[in-house]
Amino acid sequence: MTDVLPYLVAVWIFLVGCYGLATSRNLIHAVGCLSVCQSATYVLLLAVGYRDGATAPVFSDLEPGARPVVDPVVQALALTDVVVGATVTALLLALVIQVSKRHGTVDPDELSELRG
C-alpha cells in the first residue's frame, strides 16, 4: 500500500484544492485553495524523488558515498516552486484587493453579474 500512497495523497490534495477553488464564495478563500493545489505538486515531486533508506544529498555532515541519497533534482524544482508560489499568491491577493476596490465585493457570483 505504501508504495502508491504518496501519489494518491498528492492526487487527493489536488482534487480537493480544485473543488475548493470551483465552489468558493470568497476570492481570498479561492487564493488559499490555489495554494493548497500548489502544495499537491510539491508532495508529488518529492515522492517521485524518494529512495528507501536514503538520506538527503547534503554532504556538510556526511561523507560522500557513505549512504545512498535521494534525488536532488526534484528537490531543486520544489524549492524554487515554493518561493515563487508565495509571490504569485501575493500578486493574486493584490488583484483581489483591486477587485474589491473597483466592484466593492469579493464574491465571484456577484462579480459575474456586474457587467464591466
Binding site: T55, A56, V58, S60, D61, L62
Partner: protein, 150 residues
C-alpha cells in the same frame, strides 16, 4: 528499530493531529491557540527526526521553526485583536504542557548527543521554542490590547 523515529512518530502524530483538530473546529479563540500550539510538537518532532536520521544538519530546520513559529502567532495576535477582543483565549495549562514536553525532549537529546557544539544548538532551539511559545500565548490572551493602527 530506531527509538528516536518512534518517539518522533508519536509526538508528530499525536501533537499535530490534536492541533489540526483544534484548528479545524471550535470558536476562533481556540483555533488561534491551537495554531500557536502546533509549533511545539512540530519543532520537537523535527529535533527527534534529526537525531533519528543521524543528520545533525537537520537541526537548522528546528531552529528556523522555533524562530518563525511564534512570529506567525504574533501575526494572528496583532491582526485579529478585534475578533479576539470579546473572549480572549485562555491557554495557560496547555501552553505550559507543550513547553514542558519540548524541554524534556531537548534535555533527553542533549544527554544522548553529549557535550558538543550540537548540544549548544539544541539548547538554543529549546530556549527559543519555549520562550516563543509562552510569549506568543501571552500576546494572544490580550498582550496586544487596543490596536487600531499597524
Amino acid at each position: 528499530m530506531n527509538g528516536w523515529l518512534l518517539a518522533a512518530t508519536v509526538v508528530l502524530g499525536g501533537g499535530l493531529g490534536a492541533t489540526l483538530w483544534g484548528v479545524a473546529t471550535g470558536p476562533l479563540r481556540r483555533r488561534v491557540v491551537a495554531q500557536n500550539l502546533s509549533t511545539a510538537p512540530a519543532c520537537t518532532g523535527l529535533i527527534l527526526l534529526a537525531q533519528g536520521y543521524d543528520r545533525p544538519a537537520y537541526v537548522d530546520l528546528a531552529l528556523v521553526l522555533a524562530l518563525l513559529g511564534p512570529v506567525g502567532t504574533l501575526v494572528f495576535a496583532r491582526l485579529l485583536t478585534d475578533e479576539l477582543a470579546d473572549d480572549p483565549p485562555r491557554a495557560r495549562g496547555v501552553t505550559w504542557a507543550a513547553a514542558a514536553l519540548a524541554a524534556a525532549v531537548v534535555l533527553a537529546l542533549c544527554v544522548a548527543v553529549g557535550p558538543s557544539r550540537a548540544t549548544a544548538k539544541l539548547l538554543l532551539v529549546g530556549a527559543l521554542l519555549i520562550g516563543g511559545n509562552v510569549i506568543a500565548s501571552r500576546a494572544l490572551s490580550g498582550g496586544i490590547a487596543g490596536v487600531r493602527g499597524g
